[in-house]
Homo-oligomer: 249 residues x 2
């Protein structure tokens, strides 16, 4: 059976009632069996769990052989450009701790494969109780721009080590805004604007910045027969700051 | 029942026949149960497993509240200076991938608590099969100096990032020597000599190097009523290079 990413989400929520079931990680070796109580282990195995779930429900999928880049699953094995699904999980008691992608790889990947931008992120917000029981507190299905934001000096929320840009990091897209400074992107166009500006700001990609947007737009149009109109970052960057008066509401 | 670290090792090997049993990590959530096939997860949970094993066998232990430093377990809960046990695990198909300790923390810790040096390392060399079955290929009980070595320009095998010394890393102590350049330390004295030289070589600890050895020896003697004689690093460093003719044997 073929399902879209949205149908996978609906089935998990409505049929499996994923927010109401319990889970546990068990490890046995010889005679001794333990319940694993390490939170980060859950994050690592939700993807394996979803593969088990897809199998058990006889839902078609193909695994991505490149485990470093999204998506984890192709839900339409006959067309690897549509219904791409990436699985993420994080401890709902903290902030989203997963990475979106390596920035340098991502900026070149979306030129080569613009359909990657429409990968859906199926995100599990889990809690592990003291006794090791796992519950899913929230489940989301999001596009990449809906879980990304700017930061103070960069148009994306980036992990920067020793002045070198590494991973694109997510925002807390589900926050009500009281403690957040920057809101998630509203649409793909603004996200691409932030990508372009980051290609320019990042010393490692700056030499590509002259042509980057043109190459991307050409590639996207070829794929989707649609011309995107990308605003300049300087025209929109202030829109993504949560103003103080709004915070007070 | 109280057991020493050595008795724990013997019980695992002889009674439980740990090298002959099989294990598996299972995760269930709702109706779907999967076998976890991620190798690194095993490394993280062997310590939890050993705690389960100690409980099941009614062996006394106390957990260390500081999870960042050795030991994981105190096997003599009435005397937290003896029978210290640290659990490590690594994929036997690769090299030992665990860290011994953060160098800066370790060099000050062994002055404050010289008995830390006699922590025994219970090390599981595991294999995870394609189908997710876990087997323990080797089990060792080692002192810290038996699993440490020098490297080319440093007296210890250190993880160095951007010229800053971070973790002390283990050697492949079980290797027959054909592919190794440097052999493990032979005794605590030579290990302390390497520690002292590293305190000196490491910019972050250099200012302590004038007094470090004196402070350590005083503390060790107070604890164990034994005066260690520490050789100078320059007198022993060549002993730890595996010579070419030896390699050919």
């Amino acid at each position: 059976m073929k399902l879209t990413a949205q149908e996978v989400y609906d089935k998990l929520m409505l049929e499996d009632k994923i927010l109401e079931v319990k889970g546990q990680i068990k490890f046995y070796l010889g005679d001794v069996s333990i319940v694993v109580k390490q939170r980060d282990v859950v994050g690592n195995i939700m993807q394996e769990w979803l593969e088990g779930w897809l199998k058990q429900n006889e839902i078609s999928y193909k695994l991505n052989s490149n485990t470093q880049m999204p998506p984890d699953f192709y839900l339409n094995p006959d067309d690897l450009t549509s219904e791409l699904l990436e699985v993420k999980a994080f401890n709902y008691g903290a902030s989203p701790g997963f990475d979106i992608a390596d920035f340098n790889a991502f900026q070149s990947e979306i030129i080569e494969k613009p359909y990657m931008l429409h990968t859906k992120y199926l995100i599990f917000g889990y809690q592990m109780q003291e006794d090791g029981y796992v519950v899913i507190k929230k489940l989301w299905l999001q596009s990449v721009w809906e879980i990304c934001r700017r930061m103070e000096n960069w148009p994306l929320n980036l992990q920067i080590k020793d002045k070198v840009v590494h991973k694109i990091r997510p925002c807390t897209w589900y926050s009500n805004g009281k403690n957040i400074k920057y809101r998630p992107f509203e649409n793909i166009e603004d996200f691409i604007s932030a990508m372009e500006q980051t290609v320019y700001q990042n010393p490692k990609t700056r030499e590509k910045s002259g042509e980057w947007l043109k190459l991307f737009l050409r590639s996207y149009e070829k794929q989707f027969n649609e011309k995107l109109k990308i605003p300049r970052w300087s025209d929109i960057e202030d829109n993504y700051i949560v103003k103080k008066e709004q915070k007070k509401e």
